[in-house]
Symmetry: C2
Subunit: 133 residues, 2 copies
């Protein structure tokens, strides 16, 4: 447990000031797109979004699986499966303490996604073109 099998998502791309490197400014390379898509795909499910929300908004920063499972009309293996996908995406991490397993948010990844989706202040937004090349 407590494994961190997620990819670091090319942390070198952006400047040290925390500004976003791509998606809205640069054409985004093929392998970068593949890595990013894994994370967004992990967020592309209502159950996983609610799981992440429950974990992130928890006072204390950690949630026991035994508190997550009864919040859904789904079987325990299904919840475990979704948690695994969120973990493999680098969005959460797990740690076993005694009988229970606790999950916590990894804010680095959500911060990173937020930066990727943020455009650099005032986008020019000029007039439309007339015809392609």
């Amino acid at each position: 447990m407590s494994n961190q099998e997620f990819v670091v998502l090319g942390q070198d791309g952006d400047g040290p000031d925390g500004c976003c490197p791509g998606l809205l400014t640069a054409p985004l390379a093929e392998d970068q797109a593949t890595e990013l898509a894994k994370v967004f795909k992990a967020l592309g499910d209502p159950v996983r979004l609610r799981l992440l929300s429950l974990i992130a908004s928890r006072a204390g920063g950690e949630v026991c699986v035994c508190d997550l499972t009864p919040a859904f009309d789904l079987s325990q293996p299904t919840i475990s499966h979704h948690l695994k996908l969120l973990r493999e995406a680098g969005l959460i991490a797990s740690e076993r303490r005694g009988t229970w397993v606790f999950y916590r948010l990894l804010p680095e990844m959500t911060d990173r996604l937020a930066g990727i989706l943020t455009r650099p202040a005032g986008q020019p937004l000029p007039e439309p073109a007339e015809a392609p090349a």
Copy 2:
């Protein structure tokens, strides 16, 4: 064309100052999660991420489909299909001008996603709990 069939994603949830309502702060209701998941699912594909990146980073704000298709090793119907999904997710909009169709980014949606993924400044991050209820 130029249709805007996307959902507005519950624009009422957040304060007027642009602060984010959920995902990292509140447990996120079931229907909100369903709507949000559609958008993230649209981003959960490498081809669509690259398409969105190409459109958003284009100087001029608009891209002709004829400029997008040759950038991929995919058939034209496949590109058209991905563009449709991005459009239905509210991430881009299309407009026909003469023979060509131009796509442009809808920054409201990416701004919204960035806000949703942004935590409200200093998250407390207290010590872990000891045992569940």
